[in-house]
Amino acid sequence: MRLIQLLKKDLAQETRGWVDEKLITHEQGQAILAKYGESLENDTNKTSFGYYLLMALGSLFIGLALILIISHNWDEIPSLVKTGALILLTATTNLFGFRLYLTNRYQAANIWLFFGAISYGTSIMLIAQIYHLGEHYPDGIYWWALGVLPVALLTRSRLLSLLMLALATIWLCVEVGEAFFPASYPVFLLSALFIALFCRSTPIIFVFSLFALLVWLNLALAWLMGSGIHYEPFGDLLPFSLALGLVLNGLAWALMRTMNPTWREYGLVLHLWLLRASVVTLLILSFEGVWYEYSSESDITQVLSIAALIMGGVLSWRLSAKNGRYASMPAVLFSLCFSICFIVQAYFSSGDMIAAVTINFLLLVQGISLIRRGIEQDETQYFYTGVAVLLATAFVRYFDLIGDYLGGALLFLIAASIMMLAARYWRLRGQTEPGGRTNEA
């Protein structure tokens, strides 16, 4: 799976130029673009999409204006009239959207239903205001999201799906802020995933849903540790999260092998975001101080968390093995290194130092591997990410010495040796392999 998949619209535009200049035939152009799920024909939806987007944003602003105007507490109007007007507004906008569906004007219908969803939420909040409802206020946001959910599922609209997901996530935040557990949040995530996988190509919703699921699982574990009454975050959440990250990485590679071009694109986008997340995570864990502050539970939870890391690694390896060594090796390496880190941190007196050094070497290996992958597969993004990883590692280590000055110098020397040996090995391998490109480095 190549990064060009993410630039297929640009590729289509370029290919149209090549056909116009007669560099390639019309059939060749079509064949090339068909590989990426595109066509030589101009995208007729492009103009209407712009119109659709602007109309949707317009509806959103009208909704926001409505909230502000009515929030100004119109004392003079009787409560019943205000409530009736709000219910009527919600009914009218939604039914107008429905009517547009009957006349096959689907985009306009979606905009009206979106406006209806905003009116619906405004009404919930304002009826609560009119009658001074002081109940648990996140419930209002919950009912708003829940009301939009079936409309989003039925219309398969990206806009309504995004609204539903945004509302559910706001509800998650305020519910957690009020020290309650948002038990039904996965219902919204799974609905969004269903739309992304089976109805619409929408990588943002797909990736966001998976990361949000990761957050929710962490919250669920903390809630369970607090006996289902309050949150009790614990250190072993970290290895559990890393294990889930490894599984997601395996899933990304498995998606990149599927025949469905949209799923392949999802796999690639997920892989790229996991790659960025892994770099940030490794850089944070590369500080000895982080491991010093980290406190895990020395009981069955810790054993389970390390077991989860190993199982996550195995599962990730199983899912990615068919994609080649660039896919499967990181799963094994990350799982092994993380397991070592958490074991030494818990059971050895100098565990913090060993864990930090292990993560630093893991960063070096990741950087070298990305550079090599970038050159071998002609993917500049991986190449520059690898360079950035190595530079960032050197930069943070220069200012945050592990041990003392001599220890830091030793670390740099070892890192330099590893990189030079890797480069030398790579060059020699290129010379000995049949058809190897000796000048590629």
């Binding site: 569906y101 002081g134 206020y137 089976f198």
Partner: protein
């Protein structure tokens, strides 16, 4: 189901009876939520008994909810010898008795009382012998200027007219006081 259907399949889907009926049901669901919210708001006022509670308004603003004064009642903090037995979030029933100018705390129970006037609430905090309880009558929405005025002029305490239904559901109706803030 076909994966990632395009416009053609969308058109078929949008023209199907399932979609049309589903959308009507979804819209009805939204409207039902609003109607239930309205009825839940006015039912205690229509059917309940009016009582007066002593309260203190404070913190009159919220980014999320507009302008309102937060109300803290005498019965928002109650003492109980077995306070630790009340779990956070659990439903409690607080019986109230009539005093000179207002109604005050009488007793707290996990089960609905058979006689007397009581308000249904939820335990929000639990420390020592003290319980913090919310009844859903802690917000009173009013314009920003009035809310600030209410907080300033009624700092020493105010009286609120509350309606309580037979099930213990309470709704706040108005300030019982004199002056510009009411």
């Amino acid at each position: 189901m076909k994966l990632n259907s395009g416009l053609v399949q969308d058109t078929v889907w949008y023209q199907s009876h399932t979609f049309k009926i589903g959308l009507i049901v979804a819209i009805t669901l939204q409207l039902s939520v609003l109607v239930v919210e309205y009825l839940g708001s006015v039912w205690p006022i229509w059917t309940g008994a009016p009582i007066i509670l002593k309260t203190q308004p404070y913190d009159p603003r919220s980014l999320f909810r507009g302008n309102f004064v937060r109300l803290s009642y005498d019965i928002s903090q109650v003492e109980s010898d077995n306070a630790s037995e009340y779990k956070l979030g659990s439903v409690v029933y607080v019986s109230v008795k009539e005093e000179l100018s207002h109604w005050g705390f009488q007793s707290i129970s996990k089960v609905k009382p058979v006689t007397g006037l009581f308000i249904r609430g939820r335990v929000r905090a639990n420390y020592g012998n003290s319980l913090s309880i919310e009844y859903g009558i802690e917000a009173f929405f009013m314009p920003k200027e009035k809310a600030l005025l209410a907080q300033e002029t009624l700092r020493e305490g105010a009286l609120m007219r509350i309606f309580v239904s037979g099930s213990g559901k309470a709704r706040v109706q108005e300030f019982v006081c004199q002056g510009d803030a009411c």
